[in-house]
């Protein structure tokens, strides 16, 4: 990524006005990030409840902004239209049904997870798994999967910022100048996440979401009129997708899915929807809400973001009609640059700056929450469970803060030293992996019938199957591994999402083994929850007073 090439071969040089606007808006949110520590100030930030969950007191609207800012990441904004531009509807537009079916799904189980987590002071999904199944092994599997799946996702946020900077023309003639802006941006992010915790992304999310809505609405009204209206957008997309690919001889992509692609479209949408709320960062943002019903109310107002995402996806097709040429600083075509390039070509430069800022700031919110969530998971489920069982709240908060720095440093090194494609491959794998924790977490919210060892074996088989299958997908153009997330579904014989196939295999194994282990009366493990815990709400005993009850731990000797 740090190739020594002259800047600005394909992007028309540094865009001074756009860059100035971008830097000003960036400075604004940095200030807000540091200020956030005073927002809804707590008596003490020295616990994971305060630092890592914002004191668990976010209401419906803050949660809406926070979850919206968290789930719809900069990478989404870059990658979904890029997929529409390059490959068409199956790879790109599935994001719309995905983010629609998502909300009925989380409506069903998230309130239960909120209740039991607040009754027992759980901060991460692995905390719940440990309490429910009395199994440190299963909890460790869930927490490691969470951390592994989150790391490349953070790295991809950097890729989103890089795409914007590249099109804005930032990138000197040497590696240092090229990477320095990214380095500064991430150092600032790390600093205010360290001091303000989850409050920082919650405050910045307001700016991010406002900018995103503004840019998308302006873009979908203004841009199509510049290229001859929606009619010509759709006919240009249809023509491009039907044209044979020079390498494979098959059509370039899908304008509308054909009969061979129904399974692919449906399993991508459904599998991704099941997976999304297994990521630690989604659960962190949910648990920070102030009541059981906050998340349910949010399930009916969060689809506003799905609508915006759908419009954004269509901008990939607008770029086809506009003849956008996404060419990187290295002079090679790079579909990931298509949206920033479209903005730079079509908008006046000051508004291109606003649009760039929307994407770049869009990277900060998820990156902050993801690093906090990964830090929470490490602190609670590895540090406390395996390294220092008697850790005080103050020690937990301290470790959490340090790990959040480490995670971001790792992501930065990952992106600066390795090929971007690695981050994309790992993120693809991350989605497959995180889905394998679904049975242990979600089924566990309803029943103890599944046996802890059966879930562990099902998880392991799903992980291995998913990883091997994804590795063996060969990209027809480049002949590289990890060529995509689709593979033939065994017995059905149609292409489908690998994660979903792995999930079904995982489920069958967990069910069969549970039946056997339960029949053999193998010890099921101690369950510390009671049925009523899954329906508790704010105001019930222990739900609000978690921190206060343990005041002696907070203030105790380190």
């Amino acid at each position: 990524m740090s190739t020594l090439v002259p800047a600005a071969t394909g992007t028309g040089g540094v865009n001074g006005v756009a860059l100035t606007v971008l830097i000003l808006l960036f400075a604004l949110v940095t200030g807000m990030g540091f200020w956030a520590t005073r927002w809804r100030r707590a008596d003490s930030m020295e616990s994971l409840d305060e630092w890592g969950l914002g004191g668990r007191r976010f209401g419906t609207w803050v949660t809406w902004f926070l979850l919206g800012g968290d789930l719809y990441t900069a990478y989404t904004f870059v990658a979904v239209p890029a997929a529409m531009f390059a490959l068409g509807a199956v790879s790109g537009f599935f994001a719309v049904p995905y983010t629609i079916v998502l909300y009925p799904i989380i409506f069903i189980f998230m309130a239960r997870l909120w209740s039991v987590s607040h009754r027992h002071g759980y901060v991460t999904p692995a905390d719940f798994v440990k309490g429910r199944y009395g199994s440190r092994g299963l909890a460790l599997a869930v927490s490691i999967t969470g951390i592994l799946a989150t790391m490349p996702y953070i790295a991809l946020q950097l890729v989103g910022i890089q795409a914007v900077l590249e099109v804005a023309g930032v990138g000197g003639s040497n590696a240092l100048a090229k990477d320095l802006p990214l380095f500064i941006a991430f150092a600032l992010l790390a600093a205010y996440t360290y001091s303000s915790g989850l409050r920082a992304p919650a405050v910045i999310a307001f700016v991010k979401d406002a900018l995103i809505y503004l840019v998308i609405i302006v873009a979908v009204i203004y841009l199509p009129s510049k290229v001859g209206g929606w009619d010509s957008v759709f006919s240009a997309a249809e023509a491009k997708m039907a044209k044979p690919n020079p390498v494979t001889g098959k059509p370039t992509g899908a304008y509308i899915p054909n009969a061979q692609q129904y399974w692919a479209y449906a399993t991508l949408a459904f599998g991704s929807a099941l997976a999304l709320f297994m990521y630690p960062h989604s659960i962190t943002a949910t648990l920070s809400s102030s009541s059981r019903n906050t998340i349910r109310r949010n399930a009916s107002i969060l689809p506003a973001y799905s609508f915006v995402l759908g419009l954004l996806a269509l901008l990939g097709w607008v770029a086809i009609a506009a003849g956008t040429k996404p060419i990187g600083l290295d002079g090679k075509p790079n579909a990931q640059l298509v949206i920033p390039q479209l903005f730079e070509d079509m908008f006046p430069s000051w508004f291109a700056g606003v649009a760039f800022a929307a994407v770049a700031i869009g990277a900060l919110v998820p990156a902050a929450i993801m690093s906090i969530a990964a830090a929470n998971t490490f602190t609670r489920n590895i540090y406390r469970d395996f390294l220092k069982p008697n850790a005080t709240h103050a020690q937990e908060a301290k470790v959490g803060k340090l790990v959040s720095l480490l995670v971001k440093a790792f992501a930065l090194i990952f992106v600066l030293t390795l090929d971007k494609q690695n981050a994309i491959n790992f993120q693809l794998l991350g989605g497959i992996w995180i889905l394998q924790t679904f049975p242990a977490i979600v089924f566990g919210l309803y029943t103890r019938w599944f046996h802890r060892w059966a879930l562990l074996v099902g998880w392991a088989v799903g992980m291995v199957y998913g990883t091997v299958t994804a590795y063996n997908v060969i990209n027809p153009a480049t002949k590289g591994h990890f060529g995509g997330s689709l593979e033939m579904i065994p017995t059905i014989g149609k292409m489908g999402y690998i994660g979903m196939t792995a999930f079904v295999i995982n489920l069958v194994i967990a069910a069969v083994l549970s039946f056997v282990l339960n029949a053999m009366k193998v010890a099921p493990g101690h369950d510390e929850t009671i049925k009523g815990d899954y329906f508790a709400d704010a105001g019930d005993p222990r739900v609000e007073k978690n921190v206060a009850l343990d005041a002696h731990l907070t203030t105790g000797t380190p």
């Binding site: 909300y103 929606w230 009619d231 399930a299 009916s300 815990d533 329906f535 005993p541």
Partner: protein, 98 residues
């Protein structure tokens, strides 16, 4: 609140099963509709130049939102919150573990 001490909290709070079932149907409909891809992978009828495939899925954003909100109201009514008492097992379970 006064009968708290009499309630066994290791049970599922009582609910109106009929209303819960209706809510379940409302939540299932968007999933079925959108996973049934062959029902909408068509170009016609177009709406304002948008292919059916595109505008139909946009339409479901609003339908799903309305159905989820209705389900929310129904669930609130179907299973009123049962306040929890400070159960006696608390100290034993909490004791120093956290």
């Amino acid at each position: 609140m006064s009968i708290d001490s009499e309630v066994d909290h290791d049970t599922v709070p009582p609910a109106n099963k009929g209303l819960l079932a209706v809510a379940g149907v409302l939540l299932a409909l968007p999933m079925i509709a959108l996973l049934w891809v062959s029902s909408y992978s068509r170009k016609d009828p177009e709406l304002w130049g948008f292919p059916f495939f595109i505008w139909y899925q946009f339409l479901w954003v609003f339908l799903c939102s309305a159905m989820t909100y209705t389900a929310y109201r129904l669930v609130l009514r179907a299973r009123p919150h049962r306040p929890m008492s400070d159960d006696r097992t608390r100290t034993e379970r909490d004791g120093g573990v956290r």
